[in-house]
């Protein structure tokens, strides 16, 4: 178990160095992405001016406050509460997001499926778990909203956050075929029969 501090963006080699059970703190830049963002990018053909190559995305749709743009805050938004949503709904977008836009790290909660695990292995990336529902804490890791694209999709815009000490995050899916979720699910399935028997429901 190793702790990694990664200043974003990172290389394929750095992404592949992450192993199941490692912890990660990411620095500098993080992008926020969500159902509607991904639908716009991959189903509706919208392109973004933001460069995601080598970057991390977090599955989020933040609470924000509109403010007047100023030199220190060019996006016109301030963070209110930024947390993480359930990743699994966005399963079919992981591969195109990595292949086309060069994303290396997906940060989310609840885990993702086999399609994501295959993409992480084929292209070189990792899925990092943040504690879902712990948004007040997560917000303290975000310094500012630097930029926003697809503003019309608010709150499901493409957000660019400036971060400081974002983590610790836990590597729960890696590029070597490891998935904590698959392991836990297999264990639960194995325990199912005994659990059902214990409540007279075999």
């Amino acid at each position: 178990m190793t702790h990694h501090v990664l200043e974003m963006p990172i290389t394929e080699q750095q992404a592949r160095s992450l192993r199941l059970g490692d912890t990660v703190t990411i620095e500098k830049t993080l992008f926020g992405i969500r159902d509607a963002t991904l639908i716009a990018m991959f189903d509706q053909g919208r392109t973004t001016r933001l460069n995601l190559k080598g970057h991390a995305v977090v599955h989020t749709a933040p609470n924000v406050k509109k403010v007047d743009p100023r030199p220190t805050n060019s996006s016109g938004y301030e963070p209110v509460c930024i947390g993480t949503t359930t990743s699994m709904r966005m399963e079919r977008f992981t591969r195109p997001l990595m292949e086309r836009d060069g994303v290396r790290l997906i940060i989310g909660k609840g885990g993702m499926g086999q399609g994501t695990l295959d993409a992480l292995g084929d292209i070189g990336g990792a899925y990092l778990a943040v504690i879902g529902g712990a948004a007040a804490l997560q917000t303290t890791w975000i310094e500012a909203i630097e930029d926003v694209d697809f503003d019309d999709l608010n709150p499901e815009s493409l957000w660019k956050f400036r971060i400081k000490g974002f983590g610790p995050l836990l590597v729960t899916m890696d590029s070597h075929g490891g998935s904590t979720y698959a392991q836990i699910n297999a264990e639960a399935a194995a325990r199912r029969a005994a659990v059902l028997a214990s409540i007279g429901s075999a």
Partner: protein
């Protein structure tokens, strides 16, 4: 008592924000109980982060979770209360909208077909406003529940038949908890509805999922199943956030209703660990928050 509509509007706004920031005492106690029982190292660490988040939210006066949910208002009206029901419902809607704009909060509500977000947390049929009556004199209680979507997506209904028996009801619950894994933000409250019509069954599951910890099913047979399932789900090893451990659920809650001789419906509705709700009571003496 004459129900003051302006007061209802203000309270509907206040309760939404209050629910998003302050976790009820019974849920905090639920965390303490799970912490005392959790033996898995990852499970303990995850629970610790959740408890830290509750403290950070209180200290920074911030929202516990980014998900502002689907707003639900449960209004219980006692005896000897004069009220204009239509005006009351409009006031609740205005309060909900004002909370969203004035705090500001993320509007998590969209039209189901166009997906258009009005940025008000309101839309067709939303907020949900459930009105019921009870025997308390000159009393109106308003409970606000911002129901998060990660756990709401863990909703299931099965129209079992009598031949399937109670064992199939219990199996359905266990299988859905396994299926949801970490996606519903465990530790959860698993709400189970047994009986009724299909819509009542689903509604019972919601009542069960949003009931305070420490309360039990009023029906003796329902309470037995509640106790059995509460122990059983924590033997599956799913744990907090689905990363392993005992603490899959605070508790399984069951609500029952009579059903048809040909029917055996079961429904599951899950509440996440950020089991938020806030309520207040209006009496001639003023407003008291829970």
């Amino acid at each position: 008592m004459q129900l003051d509509i302006k007061e209802v509007e203000e309270l509907s706004k206040t309760l939404y924000i209050r629910a998003l920031k302050l976790l009820p005492r019974d849920i905090k106690q639920g965390f303490e109980r799970l912490m005392a029982q959790e033996t898995d190292a990852t499970g303990r660490a995850v629970l610790g982060t959740m408890v830290e988040n509750i403290q950070v939210a209180e200290r920074t006066k911030n929202l516990l979770c980014q998900d502002t949910g689907i707003p639900i208002y449960n209004v219980t009206i006692g005896r000897n209360v004069d009220f204009d029901g239509v005006a009351m419902k409009e006031a609740i809607r205005r309060g909900c909208e004002r909370a969203t704009k004035e705090h500001p909060l993320r509007s998590s509500v969209v039209h189901p077909i166009t997906r258009k977000n009005e940025q008000t947390s309101c839309g067709v049929g939303v907020p949900l406003i459930n009105v019921d009556f009870d025997t308390r004199d000159e009393t109106v209680e308003i409970e606000m529940i911002p129901k998060g979507s990660g756990s709401e997506n863990g909703s299931f209904l099965q129209m079992l038949v009598p031949a399937d028996g109670v064992s199939a009801v219990k199996r359905f619950v266990i299988d859905k908890v396994i299926e949801c894994g970490g996606r519903v933000c465990p530790p959860t409250i698993v709400g189970v509805g047994i009986g009724g019509t299909s819509d009542l069954c689903m509604h019972l599951a919601k009542i069960a999922a949003t009931r305070a910890l420490g309360t039990t099913c009023k029906d003796a047979e329902g309470a037995k199943i509640e106790a059995q399932l509460s122990g059983a789900v924590n033997e599956l090893g799913i744990g907090p956030q689905g990363l392993g451990g005992r603490s899959t659920s605070f508790r399984v809650h069951v609500e029952v209703a009579a059903t048809h001789i040909t029917m055996n419906p079961v429904a599951v509705n899950i509440q996440c660990h950020s089991a938020r709700r806030a309520s207040a009571i209006i009496t001639p003496g003023g407003i008291a928050f829970e």
